[in-house]
């Protein structure tokens, strides 16, 4: 089937396949940031955590030629930044915006420096191959078959995290505590919840997921690191978290939407439609602002987002 000389099937397959791939880091980082935001932490360091995940994930994968170790390296990179963020904002109660931006700047400098120093700034690829599996029969369905049912294992793992995180948020004591401390830390404290510990766990989880998202980008997807490669995807993830109303399912849907926006340019080029890449490039950012406008007043930010907690300072 062709339209104006474009093979529609190819186009849709490419679009769906790329879109879902681009959606993964957004979804993963957003899922983690749900916990940070719900616990009252406005995590502007997420961009830095993700970038840190990209670099340390890539580095581990390059050195070990193992996808798994690469992902673990990314997680460690994200977590380290998150603990720094946690220490400064939760423990020392310094302004979250200031610390978040500091983390992002620091991570940009750190990863840029190390990459230049260790790799000479060359675009070298990590010699890893994330194993793919092909699900019989389903992968034969046109369009969605190749796009969904013939993917890397890690791709499936990522999407499987959506229900896991939904469960974690709504069906566990940890999730309940998180939802309480971001809304009314005083009430949570009065009920016997350890606010400080809950916030640390939440930001830790957010860091792990941001690092994981970065590693996915650099290791599983592209297999290379480029300086500043996240180009605001962490911030987008932060916004998707808000737009999705802190609901893992809606966040996954939002991530897919923005992944598709991201993929639109690539897909159009694959099928040979000339469209300015800049237009496509800015779509996600404009999309975020439009979505914020549409949802303005409809979502309620966690009441204590951005506010440090100290006992007895109501």
């Amino acid at each position: 089937m062709t339209l104006n000389g474009i093979d529609v099937t190819d186009f849709l397959t490419a679009m769906l396949a790329t879109g879902l791939l681009r959606a993964v880091p957004l979804a993963i980082a957003s899922l983690g940031d749900v916990f940070a935001q719900k616990a009252g932490l406005l995590n502007l360091g997420i961009e830095g955590m993700m970038l840190s995940g990209c670099f340390f994930g890539f580095h581990a994968a390059y050195k070990t030629e193992s996808v798994v170790l690469g992902m673990l390296g990314g997680i460690a990179g994200g977590l380290a930044m998150a603990l720094l963020f946690g220490f400064l904002t939760i423990h020392l109660r310094v302004d979250q915006v200031l610390v978040g931006l500091a983390i992002t700047i620091f991570a940009a400098g750190l990863t840029g420096y190390l990459f230049r120093d260790w790799y000479g700034g060359q675009n070298v690829a990590a010699n890893v191959r994330a194993r793919s599996i092909e699900i019989p029969l389903l992968s034969d369905i046109p369009i969605i078959g190749p796009a969904i049912f013939h993917r890397q294992i890690i791709f499936y793992i990522c999407w499987a995290l959506v229900p896991v995180f939904a469960w974690l948020l709504y069906r566990t004591r940890f999730g309940l505590n998180v939802r309480a401390v971001g809304e009314s830390p005083f009430a949570a404290d009065a009920a016997g919840v350890n606010v400080i510990r809950t916030r640390y766990l939440a930001i830790g989880l957010a860091g792990v997921m941001a690092g994981f998202a970065g590693a996915f980008l650099a290791v599983a997807d592209l297999r290379i690191f480029t300086i500043g490669m996240t180009v605001g995807q962490g911030f987008i993830a932060l916004a998707i978290t808000m737009l999705g109303g802190w609901n893992p399912w809606r966040i996954a849907a939002g991530a897919i939407l923005f992944g598709m926006l991201n993929a639109l340019g690539d897909s159009l080029q694959i099928v040979g439609v000339g469209i300015r890449t800049e237009f496509i490039g800015m779509l996600p950012y404009i999309g975020i602002m439009l979505a914020l406008v549409v949802l303005a007043g409809k979502t309620q930010l966690p009441a204590s987002l951005g506010v440090p907690y100290a006992r007895g300072q109501r």
């Binding site: 309940l176 939802r179 005083f186 949570a188 016997g192 919840v193």
Partner: protein
């Protein structure tokens, strides 16, 4: 009067426990110079509703906070079931069976009822709500709550939330239930519902304590009434006394305990009270306004302020006085009615228009709203007038003029500060208050609204503030003085209105001031029926 303190153990009605559940012995608690509780005893029996009555600042809440683990007493002992107990935190109290329902609820609005109930309880990682849900269903039915466990708390009314709050502490095995001003946020129907629940809990052997300043409620509901005044326990009405005397006698007895023995206001050096009222400066016609939480706070209130008078507003905190002040100052929108200054209607015209028309407002929140703590005394002195000559011309500040002005105010009002350029945070509360008052007076307001201007001040400074207000009226202006200190209102006011539940329930002329009637109005919103009717 102060010594029916040691109550003998009462005879036990059917089905009620024998031993006291809680004994607080000789509790003292000091905050800086203030002795909030002075050697207070309190005994709570199972199956009994115990009211703790007192004015604002009488020490009721402090006493309850000691029992609920919020504060540690400086002196005294707490026995639980006869055993000495240490209560370090509210959680500690809860685990020992003492549950508190605060005035500001501690529910998380975006969590469901059941999530709020199980929040903080120690069970496994996975939330197993099945058991809790069955238990909760029964309790919801018991409490006549027409809601499911899955409803988010933010969708519930205030009255419903309060019941959830009670369920939440009962769910954790509370046997002593403390309620801090439980009816202050409720409608009359909700109050009835609450009382029914509390009576039921009494039947189940719970020791219920309500902290209140509403006399009628205490009489309606409780088996025993303890009266606090200025941090000390001044009397207990035990069940026998309450049963033996009729309601009116008990009422008069309590009013006497709370307000009796005050010096007469006549002949005070501050008061002067001009004879003939001057022309009207401020007219409020049927003004209504909502409070911060959206509930009506000022209801259909009408009032004229005249040249040369100090009009006092008495009332227990939270009866709409603050909101009234903010409406007059233009800081809070009125929902209906009108406001006129000197005959010009200026309803909802905003702070600057109202301020230009000659209204000054001294807020009760000196640091949070009245001033900018990080700025200098001089800068704070011109916060509201910065756009006017001589402090600025066009866009340009005149720092010299600002400094001179501040120095003049400092001199005139005896504000103790190293210099006009000292940061405001380094001043004491009294000096900040003098500065805020000076700031308003410098604008030469025709009408000055003051909310609790003497709160937290030492006596000398308080006297100075009141004298200043009096002079302001004597100079031909009007002053609206909102205060929870009845004594100072009696001293300084030419007329005195009582606010209760958002309404101005009575206005007294100077000379008609009767402490006990005013006290009754503050507590119940109406006059003693026994005398009047």
């Amino acid at each position: 009067m102060a010594n029916d303190a040691l109550t003998p153990r009462p005879p036990l009605p059917d089905g009620r426990g024998g031993e006291p559940r809680v004994e607080m012995l000789g509790i003292s608690k000091r905050f800086g110079p203030v002795l909030a509780n002075d050697n207070v005893d309190l005994t709570l029996w199972p199956g009994e509703i115990h009211a703790v009555l007192g004015e604002n600042g009488a020490g009721k809440t402090t006493l309850m906070n000691v029992l609920s683990g919020m504060y540690q007493p400086d002196d005294g002992q707490i026995l639980l079931d006869g055993q000495p107990a240490v209560i370090k935190t509210p959680i500690d109290a809860l685990e020992q069976g003492i549950g508190t329902v605060y005035q500001h609820f501690t529910l998380v609005p975006n969590l469901s009822v059941i999530e709020n109930v199980v929040l903080g309880t120690k069970t496994g990682f996975r939330l197993d709500l099945g058991n809790a849900e069955r238990q909760l269903q029964t309790m919801l039915a018991d409490f006549a709550l027409n809601t499911t466990p899955q409803t988010e708390v933010r969708h519930l009314s205030i009255g419903q939330r309060q019941r959830i709050e009670i369920i939440k502490v009962l769910f954790r095995g509370t046997r002593v239930l403390l309620l801090d001003e439980p009816t202050s946020v409720l409608t009359p129907v909700e109050v009835e519902g609450l009382f029914a629940i509390l009576r039921r809990l009494r039947e189940q052997g719970v020791a219920v304590v309500i902290i209140t300043h509403k006399l009628d409620e205490a009489l309606d509901l409780s088996d025993r009434i303890t009266v606090l005044r200025q941090g000390r326990k001044v009397g207990v009405l035990d069940p026998e006394t309450l049963a033996a005397s009729d309601r009116e006698t008990s009422r008069l007895r309590i009013v006497e305990l709370m307000f009796g023995g005050r010096p007469s206001s006549e002949g005070s050096d501050v008061a002067s009270g001009s004879a003939a009222p001057g022309e009207t400066l401020l007219t409020l016609s049927a003004i209504s306004a909502d409070g911060d939480r959206g509930a009506p706070a000022v209801k259909n209130l009408s009032l004229d302020l005249h040249r040369g008078e100090v009009f006092g507003i008495a009332g227990v905190d939270g009866n709409g006085q603050k909101e009234l002040g903010e409406v007059i100052a233009g800081q809070r929108r009125s929902t209906s009615g009108s406001l006129a200054i000197d005959g010009r209607t200026l309803t909802n015209q905003g702070v600057s228009a109202i301020s230009r028309a000659g209204i000054g407002y001294v807020t009760d929140d000196r640091l949070g709203e009245g001033s900018v703590p990080g700025q200098s005394v001089a800068e704070n002195a011109v916060l509201k007038t910065i756009g006017l000559a001589p402090f600025s011309r066009k866009f340009w500040l005149n720092r010299k003029a600002i400094e001179r002005h501040a120095e003049a105010l400092i001199e005139q009002f005896d504000v103790r500060t190293p210099s006009a350029s000292t940061q405001l945070t380094l001043l004491s509360g009294g000096n900040i208050q003098k500065l805020l008052l000076a700031r308003e007076l410098a604008m030469k307001p025709k009408v000055l609204v003051c909310n609790k201007p003497t709160y937290g001040l030492d006596i000398r400074t308080a006297q100075f503030v009141l004298k200043t207000l009096r002079e302001q009226a004597n100079d031909g202006n009007a002053v609206l003085l909102i205060s929870s200190e009845l004594d100072e209102l009696l001293d300084v006011s030419d007329r005195l209105g009582v606010m209760y539940n958002g309404e101005l329930v009575a206005i007294f002329e100077r000379g008609e001031f009767d402490v006990e009637t005013i006290g009754q109005l503050m507590l119940t919103g109406r006059r003693a029926t026994g005398v009047a009717a």
